[in-house]
């Protein structure tokens, strides 16, 4: 029977195509990130940061050479899992990367099964740190974003907030936690969830304008959602609103350049001002290396990538010096991390979370500038408030 012969042939194909073990002399650090597909930009920028982190580590630590091996997970959980397994087979000592709970979840499970440390900055979901994995670490959770959004609103003294959020995983979860904290502070909160396919936000904004009469609008979504919400807000001009506050991917130079009329006075999470003003020696060195390698300004994703790579490299070095690296001692070394980094203090708890993580809030201001306006100790300029894009 030909069919069965074909089946055997197909199997031989599978066998021959995938077998290529790699032997390593230096320490291999595995990176699993979405480099293609809808998350391509996020993945690539994070990878740039990781590369800078490793580059800087290697130049200051001549005795420990770290080499990156990168695999694209294409935003698919099965492929993320396969990527980690391939990296483990190639002899990686640890895995870093990941974006989104759906990719980090399976990937870090696979890393755990292979006994490898997994460190990420791309997943904010609480489920990730409630699995009891001993090898899992992340530098930033949803709580740090919620703290920043809530902190900004409470400093502004607004009495009512409308939360407009996408039904996607990370956004829905963050919206719920912001809601919880704001409600606990006796601030009136109204929730508006939206389908990611929505294009016309005017009916939503009209509800905020006529029914909620809120003083603040929290936008928890992605770039296309921000554009839609801000356009609708600019048309409806709800008179009670004093601030338009978003989260990730909003207070970025790219948004300012692409949508110059929508961004003025809009707030979003941002780890640093733009033009970047690093004032520590480490920050200056980071910026210099980033510019040398990529001929552009580092962004927040690059910064997160840099920090996770840096912490991991240092832990690998400590573990290798003690001779515990081959015996699974890396997780213990990562857990000992206690450092003030470019994204603030990092110290991991039992679950692998970094409870001290706190985002900063930036505001788009005149001249394509992004000014850090929260928290107080990081402020780089005066906050415009009340201020909205249409005034």
């Amino acid at each position: 029977m030909i069919l069965i012969n074909r089946a055997l042939l197909a199997m031989t194909l599978v066998l021959t195509l995938g077998l290529s073990p790699v032997t390593a002399k230096e320490f291999l650090l595995g990176v699993q990130l979405p480099l293609t597909g809808s998350l391509a930009r996020v993945g690539n920028n994070t990878l740039e940061g990781i590369t800078v982190g490793v580059e800087m580590f290697n130049s200051t630590n001549p005795n420990h050479k770290i080499k990156l091996v990168t695999i694209d997970d294409e935003s698919s959980p099965a492929k993320a899992m396969a990527a980690v397994e391939k990296l483990a087979a190639q002899g990686a000592v640890a895995i870093t990367g990941g974006y989104g709970t759906n990719l980090i979840g399976p990937a870090s499970d696979a890393a755990n099964k292979a006994g490898l440390v997994y460190i990420t900055s791309g997943g904010v979901g609480n489920e990730l740190v409630s699995r009891g994995l001993k090898n899992f670490f992340r530098t930033n959770g949803a709580a740090g974003y919620a703290k920043a959004v809530v902190g900004l609103f409470s400093d502004m003294g607004v009495k009512s907030v409308s939360i407009v959020y996408s039904t996607k995983e990370a956004t829905a979860e963050l919206a719920q936690s912001v809601n919880k904290i704001l409600s606990g502070m006796k601030i009136k909160v109204t929730m508006h969830t939206f389908d990611p396919a929505i294009t016309d936000f005017k009916p939503v904004l009209n509800k905020i304008k006529l029914q909620d009469r809120s003083e603040g609008i929290a936008m928890i979504g992605y770039e296309n959602d921000y554009v839609g919400i801000l356009r609708a807000a600019k048309v409806m001009q709800p008179p009670t609103v004093k601030a338009m506050v978003g989260v990730w991917s909003l207070a970025t130079p790219k948004m300012a350049a692409d949508f110059p009329d929508l961004m003025p006075n809009v707030y979003g999470t941002s780890m640093m001002p733009f033009p970047a003003g690093f004032n520590t020696p480490e920050g200056k060195e980071f910026e210099k290396t980033y510019r040398r390698l990529y001929k552009k300004e580092p962004d927040y994703l690059g910064q997160f990538g840099y920090v996770q790579a840096q912490l991991l490299c240092e832990a690998i070095k400590r573990s290798a010096d003690k001779g515990t690296l081959a015996k699974g001692g890396l997780a213990a070394e990562v857990r000992k991390t206690n450092k003030n980094t470019l994204i603030g203090p990092v110290a991991f708890d039992e679950t692998g979370d970094n409870p001290s993580f706190q985002q900063r809030m930036g505001q788009h201001q005149v001249g394509n500038k992004i000014v850090i306006v929260w928290p107080k100790e990081e402020v780089t300029g005066k906050m415009n408030f009340p201020a909205v894009p249409w005034k």
Partner: protein, 328 residues
């Protein structure tokens, strides 16, 4: 007799040789398991297409329902996992009852109506937060269990589970196809009136094929949930669960039994190992090209084409270009 020997060889190869050769290489194993997951859906899709005469653009609906039901009954009710996987299949069958009104629709309408169902199920999964975990999804879905001292949660275990699922389904499919009803079902493509005359209730048969196809897809979805240990509406009902099996089945030849299976393994593996390295971003473009080429030049798929070629080679001793030989 010869066929029986070949089946034994195939079984030995699938259950002994292949696992033995690959057991150390988890990466190839996971590519294989992922491609077999697609193969399972492709088989179910082809069953509906071949025997039911319906092209579906919404098998993701059944895949998602099966995966969610199995995950929920294990996590909330503590049902044993293999039982839960079967329940996932039955759940998908029950969901397919909702699709019954669409059976009256002609080809393209049915194909796109079922797409709407996939969309509706996804929205329901997002909205019924208390049961499904909503957009946040379910993390930490229990892995396949350890039974009789063997860990099915390992790569090898997952491979053995999915290959067994596929072989059982292929066996059922083959039996139906070879039966009187299978003959009637295939005759239905030629003329629905003719089958009515010989006393076959075509709507009932079509409905049964829909149930069976949904069941198979649901079981594969449930397997995948316990293999990946994670679900969210976007993932469980992703269009990819329809698209890849469709391309695979068309590529291999959806009127044959082995076509969808071999198609899935070949398409997935080549996509992952070859196309992806050629075009890192947007390598799925090659899937579209593949689909176009097959539809235009070999609408029956690759396996029938190969069979014909081989037969011709055996008959004439050399291969002639197709246009000179109308019967090929």
């Amino acid at each position: 007799m010869k066929q029986r020997t070949q089946i034994v060889i195939l079984l030995v190869a699938l259950y002994v040789v292949l696992p033995f050769l690959l057991k150390g290489n988890t990466y190839v194993m996971s590519i294989l398991v992922a491609s077999l997951t697609i193969a399972g859906v492709a088989l179910a899709w082809a069953l509906l297409g071949n025997l039911g005469g319906m092209v579906s653009f919404g098998h993701a609906a059944f895949f998602g329902v099966g995966s969610y039901i199995s995950a929920i009954v294990t996590m909330k009710l503590g049902v044993p996992i293999f039982a839960a996987i079967l329940m996932g299949g039955f759940g998908a069958t029950i969901a397919s009852i909702a699709v019954l009104p669409a059976l009256r629709l002609s080809g393209p309408y049915f194909a796109l109506a079922i797409l709407a169902y996939a969309h509706i199920f996804k929205i329901l999964a997002t909205e019924f937060t208390s049961v499904t975990g909503g957009a946040g999804g379910l993390l930490g879905i229990p892995p396949l269990p350890t039974l009789l001292g063997f860990n099915f949660g390992s790569k090898l275990g997952a491979y053995l589970v999915i290959i067994t699922i596929i072989l059982v389904f292929a066996f059922i499919y083959a039996r139906i196809r070879g039966s009187y009803y299978g003959f009637a079902l295939r005759a239905m493509h030629e003329s629905e009136d003719a089958t009515r005359v010989v006393g076959v209730n075509s709507t009932l048969l079509k409905a049964l094929m829909l149930f069976l196809s949904a069941f198979m897809t649901g079981v594969v979805g449930a397997f995948n949930a316990h293999y990946i240990n994670f679900l969210e509406p976007d993932y469980a009902f992703h269009i990819g669960w329809t698209m890849l099996p469709l391309v695979a089945a068309i590529f291999g030849g959806y009127r044959t039994l082995s076509g969808p299976l071999i198609g899935a393994v070949v398409v997935y593996t080549v996509d992952q190992l070859v196309f992806k390295s050629l075009i890192p971003s947007g390598h799925q473009i090659m899937l579209g090209v593949l689909l176009g080429i097959i539809i235009l030049f070999a609408p029956d798929g690759l396996i029938p084409l190969l069979k014909k070629t081989v037969r011709r080679v055996r008959q004439t001793g050399k291969c002639r270009p197709p246009q000179t030989d109308a019967t090929c």
